[in-house]
Symmetry: C2
Subunit: 551 residues, 2 copies
């Protein structure tokens, strides 16, 4: 178990590289190499020993917490030390470069959480809230804690996860923040409802984590991002508990709700949230289409978004991703997506002789929505006007089957000395093709990326009338011995290019430590001061997730 504690997800789901034969073949052919499992994390980690005296001190500070909820074990401290970014994984493989908390507390009530923060405030204990631990931009990293606090405490919310209230008359539900995606959806779906928030991390991330990172799910174009889905929050802060106004939409002055959606644990811990739920769709309608260029597909999606059409799932892959996706989706030598599509396309070969690098779009619409039929009809009609062609829907179901599985592959690749990272941004429609081209160009100049071997994949994952979320995957041979420099160089290259094209710091991954230097430039300096004044009010000693955001 120790060997794999850092890996994604369910140990039974972890696959060997041979379970991805087409990916393996693709990479080996392109890189003219044989992939070997040659990169391993250390068997043990040397965490600082917590002395009995310090344990006693910590137990005294949190004297009202039931002792079994307080853990000093190395396993527990290790588990909450990092998130799931490439940088996190590399540091684990290097067995160094990260800081662990001294203690992990698992509260089960709001009152306990408030007590922990009150005591931490009185005793200058630094607090790192922990939900599912799936963040990929360093939200859990403690690197930036200034002045080496005496005690670093992770508040692990995974046992704080009851449903407080289900209000089917007004379509809201109130949950404790530590509930995981599947637990929340199981409760709601058993009653015929859904939140509709399905990030790739869905199986291992929590409601509270989604809120404080302003997360988006794979279906957020229809259901909305977390900033749209929260009606009310209750928050424990170092100076006490507060609640936002009863309604997210009214005219009762300034609502503090948005101060906490995106606060990344810096102001307190969101403990209870009332979320807007929807009736569970009976079924889904898929649209799959191919476009001759990424630009054509982008124009199509812009028109769709500006016509008020709201698919839940939207994924327009560029030519590279379409190509690799096709290989990957063929789990055990079953025909890949493009094969399916090409068979179909042969019928139309004459019209499609120029379609050498097709871009695939998959969209899903929730059946049961009154207007889904007219939206689907319109969306299908529009495909041809944008030089696209409709394709069989079968790959939709294939995507749905594997929608949460990609993180497993990342871990396997890293073990084979392959760098793989993902980045994303919100960008206006006019900047979508420019950013795509600029990134391709800049990556080709980068030694860390390795033009001849590096694989750059892009897709549009969310659409709005004014903008889209672009999602990028970078794969290239790992520079062994210089893993962190390689990661930082590529992170810098991609994020700088995003910034030059007016992209946001993040559309749904959040800021964390990894984006902080861009965040501080991206956000207006007086706005940062305003945020610091809020921080000063709620967390005057700076104990909450120190070093993050505007700190």
């Amino acid at each position: 178990m120790r060997r794999d504690w850092w890996k994604w997800g369910d140990p039974k789901e972890i696959k060997h590289i041979n379970d991805y034969p087409k990916v393996k073949a693709f990479v080996e052919e392109r890189w003219k190499t044989h992939l070997r499992e040659d990169f391993f994390p250390p068997k043990t980690f040397e965490l600082p020993v917590i002395s009995d005296k310090k344990k006693e001190q910590i137990r005294n500070i949190f004297a009202s917490i039931y002792p079994k909820k307080i853990s000093f074990s190395e396993d527990d401290r290790l588990f909450v030390s990092l998130g799931k970014s490439y940088y996190d994984v590399i540091r684990i493989f290097n067995g160094a470069g990260f800081i662990s908390p001294d203690v992990v507390i698992q509260p089960t009530t709001h009152e306990e959480i408030q007590y922990i923060l009150t005591q931490a405030h009185a005793n200058n204990v630094h607090i790192i809230p922990f939900g599912g631990g799936t963040n990929v931009v360093g939200a859990l990293s403690m690197d930036n804690i200034a002045g080496r606090p005496e005690i670093k405490c992770t508040v692990d919310l995974r046992n704080y996860k009851r449903m407080v209230k289900l209000d089917t008359e007004n379509l809201t539900a109130t949950f404790e923040a530590g509930i995981l995606g599947p637990e929340l959806e199981k409760i709601l779906q058993s009653k015929g409802y859904t939140l509709g928030h399905f990030p790739q991390s869905f199986e291992y991330s929590t409601l509270g984590g989604w809120i404080v990172t302003r997360g988006a799910g794979q279906e957020s174009t229809y259901y909305g991002k977390m900033e749209d889905l929260v009606e009310h929050v209750k928050v424990a802060t170092p100076v006490g508990t507060l609640e936002s106004n009863a309604f997210s939409h009214d005219a009762s002055g300034i609502n503090v709700l948005p101060f906490f959606v995106g606060s990344e644990g810096t102001l307190g811990i969101v403990t209870e949230a009332t979320i807007k739920i929807k009736k569970l769709p009976k079924n889904y309608r898929w649209i799959v289409a191919l476009f001759p260029t990424f630009q054509d597909g982008t124009n199509y999606l812009k028109t769709l978004a500006q016509s008020g059409v709201k698919p839940s799932v939207v994924r327009l892959s560029d030519a590279n991703e379409t190509n690799l996706y096709s290989k990957m989706s063929s789990g055990h030598e079953t025909p890949g997506v493009l094969n399916d599509l090409k068979k179909e396309a042969q019928k139309l070969l004459l019209q499609w002789k120029n379609l050498t690098e097709p871009c695939v779009l998959i969209m899903r619409f929730p059946q049961g929505d009154i207007s889904v039929s007219s939206q689907v009809i319109y969306a299908k009609t529009l495909v041809e006007k944008h030089k696209g062609m409709l394709a069989p829907n079968t790959i939709g179901d294939k995507w749905a089957e594997s929608r949460f599985k990609l993180p497993y592959l990342r871990d396997t690749l890293v073990e084979h000395s392959i760098y793989i990272d993902t980045m994303e941004t919100m960008v206006q429609w006019k900047d979508v093709p420019k950013l795509h081209q600029a990134l391709t160009r800049e990556l080709h100049k980068s030694a860390a990326f390795n033009k001849s071997k590096g694989i750059f994949l892009a897709h549009i994952s969310h659409i709005y009338p004014n903008a889209a979320c672009m999602y990028f995957t970078l794969i290239t041979p790992m520079l062994r011995g210089r893993e962190i420099e390689q990661w930082q160089e590529l992170k810098d290259l991609v994020t700088n290019t995003i910034m030059q094209h007016n992209g946001s710091v993040s559309h749904h991954h959040s800021v964390g430590l990894d984006h902080q230097k861009w965040y501080k430039k991206y956000t207006d300096s007086l706005a940062l001061e305003v945020l610091r004044s809020v921080k000063q009010k709620l967390d005057p000693k700076g104990i909450m997730n120190p070093g993050k955001l505007f700190s």
Copy 2:
């Protein structure tokens, strides 16, 4: 002109009571009286004289502002002294009880506004921002200014109203905040777009006013409230200019945008706003229906909202309002709405013998939206399931003709010693009928309302999956000599009853001075402290719209 400066709107549109013959007849019959024009404002107002020395002092403070933009005239000072609430009008009729500014400045650039605030901050000048002056809850009242500041300055934004940018590719537009509704829509509609924000005050209210009050328009169920329609703001504050993040939807930390949407001028002046625009609908589809009870109509609208159907206009009147609305809509002895409906209903008389107090619902759908047909079909089908009956659409057009005209009637009624006030709230669906019944009950106990003469009208004006906006109109004989006590008693009665039924302080009128005592109870006390810390940062001397909100 002086005689009518306080009246609503265009002097040419002002009507005599005889222009509302059915309203007149209805009231006279019910009150067994003859309405007489017997209440007049004073011919002159005794504003404090601004000495030449003080004028010189003020001109020196704002030395960089072109002198013609600075006015000390009594007319200009009077015009910006108050908004358009019943309480405001009564104080004007009483010729007393309100405070006027010493000076009115009309800036025309962001830089000028920033300069004014910077100078005001340095010289302790109190600033009241003025948009269209249509607020109905005392947002402009200076009653609450503590410590009698030496100089009170109104910043009148009505000459600051250019379009900065129209971005049709990304469907956004940037305007200066002082632009009036018709000016803004004229520009957008000439290019084929609309903001879709049409409050009753549309003709005389400004973009900036809509934003800082979190306003809603008559079509906001479809287009969204102002908190949904703003993508970005630029704000002048006493300590400098700030801008919100580029996107309203992303994961780049806490966005300060919502701090200013609803700030009611307490933090600074929103100078430029980028708003989300939509394609102008080609036409509209109307649905008009009658329901046997308000509860049936409410259930219908709840089902509709929870099915994702979004009409732009929604107006479900209770039985009282349906009855009076019928009389009022018949401008010059043309048949009223109910007459139209009753003719139609005669065909269905047997089924409808219990329909003695019908409640009318009018809904409008923007034609051109992809899904409008399926929404209209669904909405029509659903009417019968909720015991309703479809009615002729003609009254829809009648409503549209007079949609901005009601405020004129208010002024005419006041001149005939009639109390008339409107109040509104956001309330969960489960509380809608309870609140309606409780208000009816409480008003009947109130001497100020006068059970035998008082007219209480209610309608649902906006629908959400979890809640509705309820809008109330109260009409009763004015208690001459006790006008303000009567107003306060009824305001207290209605707002206390709203609070007891979990309603919000306001859905779209905002807080102002009139709601402040409830606002301070409604908003969490630690949340108020957070807001005060933001105020302290941006306006450390408390010069911005002093005494409002959390002050």
